[in-house]
Structure formats: C-alpha cells, structure tokens
Symmetry: C2
Subunit: 214 residues, 2 copies
DNA sequence: CCCTGTCAATACGGTAGCGTATGGATCTCG
DNA sequence: CGAGATCCATACGCTACCGTATTGACAGGG
C-alpha cells in the first residue's frame, strides 16, 4: 500500500500496551485514557481535527461522554494528549532513522522512497496541516517540521552542497512533500496508477538529490 | 510585499462594480449580494472556510442575518457564489498569463518569480486547501490545480523535457508551491528575511527549471 | 461481604449557529 | 403621493455540541 489509492482505517489494536490473549484484561469494554487517545488519533486521521468532538467520539466508542469527562478535563485536553503521543512517536521515528545507511546519497534516496510508501504517519500529518489555526496544533507541527527540515539539510550537506544550498534544497524537498500530501490525500488530484506513481517518485529523486560530486 | 511576512487584510474596495465618487450610490449602507460575496472572500482569506458563517459575517458587516437571507438561500449558497467568483478570476488570470513571454525558459522563470511575490490569490488558495473536505470546495480546487499543472507541463515540454518528465516536473513544481504555501502561510515556519527568501526562490528556479537544451 | 475506587449513564444548563417568519424602513417610479 | 420593490431587524424554533452534577454498576481487597 502506498500513498496513492490508500484508504484510511482505524488500525489501532488496543495500543501496544495490551498484549492480551486473555491475561491482563481487567474489564469488559471499559476504557482507559490511552484508549481515548488512540480513538482520537484514529478520528483525526479519518476526518480531521475539526471532527474531533467528545460526544461524536463517545458515540463512536459506544459510550457516553460521562465516561470521557472522567478521563479528561476537556476536549482540548484530549487533543493535546493525542498530539503529545503523536509527536513523541514521530520524533522517535526521526531518530531511529538517523544513520541506517552509510552512503549519504543512498540514505536520502532511501528516505524519499520509503516516505512514498508509508501511510499512517502522513495521513495524520496531513490532517494536522489543515488545523494549523489551532493553538495546540501549530507548535507541534512547527517543531516537527523544523526538525525534519534540519535533518534534510544535514543530509544534503553531506552530499557536498553548500550550507545555503543545502538549507534551500531541504526546504524545497520538504515543501514538495507537504504539497504532495495535500494534493494526493486531500485534493485527491486523480488516482495515479502505481507504475506512474513510481515513475514520479524516481523523477523527484533525480531532480532533487544531486549526484554526490563533493 | 511578498509571500513571507505578509499580513492579511480586507483590501476589498466595494468591488470593481462601484466606481462611485458619489454618483451611483443608491443607498447608505445597504448591501448587495456582491458585497456579501466580497466580504465572504475576505473572511475566508483571513480565517478560513470554517469561519465563514452567516451570523459572524453579518456581525462583521454591521447588519443582521435578516439581510443575508434575503440575498442567499443558505450559508452554502454563499460559499458557492464566493467560490464561483474566485474560480473564474483565477482561471482568467491563467489565460491572461498564457504567452506573455516568448522564450519558454524565461516564461517559466518569470512565472516562478512572480508567484513568489503575489499574495492575495495564494492566501485564498491556501485557505481553500484546508477545506478540501467540503464538497463544494474540492471540485473547484481540482479543476484549478489540474489546469495549472497542465500549464506547467506544457511549459516544461517547451523546454525540451520528455512528455513524461514534463508532467512529473510539473507535479513536483506544483507540489512545491502548495507545500510552501502551507509552510509559510499556515505553519509560519519562521519568518525568513527577504534576502534569504529571494535566495530560496532562485534556488527553486535553478533546481526545477532545466536549461533549455532541446 | 461490604467498601471503596473506577468507569459509565443520565439529566441538566448553557452557547453558538442555522434557517424561518414577519413586520418595519426606505427607495423608486408611475 | 402612494404602491411596490428592496433591504434589514427582531423574534423564534431547532440542532449540535460543551461541560457539570449526580447517581449507578461493578470489580477487587480487606
């Protein structure tokens, strides 16, 4: 499954915290704060931040808001909890990423290709992109985007680009990423068939990643 | 004023339709449907589609919704009218654009540079990007974006790129445009100073526009 | 066995917005 | 000047949601 023609579905098993074949299942159908956060992220992925409401979410989970307000102060508290969880996971991903491949060019190419094939992350990122008005969302996105652009700049630097060029190339690449997300995920600009899509990704790679002539 | 560090303000003189020094001003403070549409576009530019409501807009104009519902069926009718007006103007702009410059490379470079310096259009486009869920917004954006990408593809073709490369370069360029809009206008990724900004634009030009070697 | 902590349902009050109905004001034109 | 058209205000009902308060269900530990 790649970025194009992808559908969005819950895909949250009761997070990593519940390995239950049977053992540690305290109640039937009772919810933890974590479960609410997971559900919130699912809802955001599917319908965007604006659709995240406590009553709608409660209905979706088959309970009433009486439950919700036991776990959280307010709707915004839930949003912030969800953002927090998401941000730390994304940041961890970035770090894990750090030096998987030695050759600097191959590292970048691999990053581009992998990015084009993952999904869940981008769906949420894209949804959050549409909610940048919200005061809780913007700082999270600013931090993450900054970090990723810095990472890209470093990678381009390692390819022999000047400091200035590396930064600008990083900005350009990231802008292309963000824009493509919106075009595909939100605008649904036309469902490109997979072969075409691969060709596009390769074109991007060749256009944006210089040939390591340092 | 360029894309960076730009503030968003009404800037709608009572549209082009009212050239009044004094002559054709029928009433004092009475509103036409056009005036509502203009105000709607202003509001969208400032606060996004989600903020477009009839009561808020009425307050803003110093009247009550009693007035609004005389001119329009519903909130959505207003949105559609605003989208219609905006779309036709944008399309006209695209056409007017068509062949202002003979040399195909210079035409593209000029387009990129001019795009980086205009404002109003992009603000609304960017606001609409965040409202692509709305069934009235998406088709408009699909048409416009398609047209612009086609235009770009033609331009790149004229530079000697293969049909496939031209299309992919057009997609990439447009994605970079869309992404940069979100990054700057919505995320406010850090206010780049003008010199830096110009350098970025030149970097984009050099990276995305090949040297006409056909 | 019951007591306490945990999670959930119900009921309530409050806000903000949509759309309708109806009457008032003002302008135009015959 | 009066009649119709045009624009606006007011008042109303309705919906969807937030947040609070109160009570209920139920588990596990003493």
């Amino acid at each position: 499954m790649d970025l194009v023609n992808a559908s969005v579905r819950p895909l949250s098993a009761p997070p990593p915290s519940a390995p239950d074949p049977l053992p540690a299942k305290p109640d039937r159908g009772r919810l933890s704060a974590d479960a609410w956060v997971d559900a919130a992220l699912d809802l955001i992925a599917e319908q965007g931040v604006a659709a995240l409401g406590v009553e709608p979410l409660a209905r979706r989970l088959g309970v009433t808001k009486g439950s919700f307000y036991w776990h959280f102060e307010s709707r915004d508290a839930l949003l912030e909890a969800a953002l927090k969880r998401w941000e730390t996971r994304e940041m961890e991903g970035l770090i894990r990423e750090a030096d998987r491949i030695a050759d600097p060019r191959e590292r970048l190419v691999d990053l581009f290709r992998r990015t084009s094939r993952e999904m869940r992350t981008h769906v949420i990122y894209s949804a959050l992109l549409k909610a940048l008005d919200h005061p809780a969302v913007r700082p999270v996105m600013q931090r993450l985007s900054q970090r990723r652009i810095q990472y890209l700049a470093l990678a381009f630097r390692a390819l022999g680009l000047s400091r200035r060029d590396a930064i600008n190339r990083a900005r350009l690449s990231y802008a292309a990423y963000v824009g493509f997300l919106q075009l595909i995920l939100q605008l649904r600009l036309q469902r490109i068939d997979p072969a075409d899509y691969d060709a596009y990704v390769e074109h991007v790679v060749e256009t944006l990643i210089p040939p390591l002539l340092a």
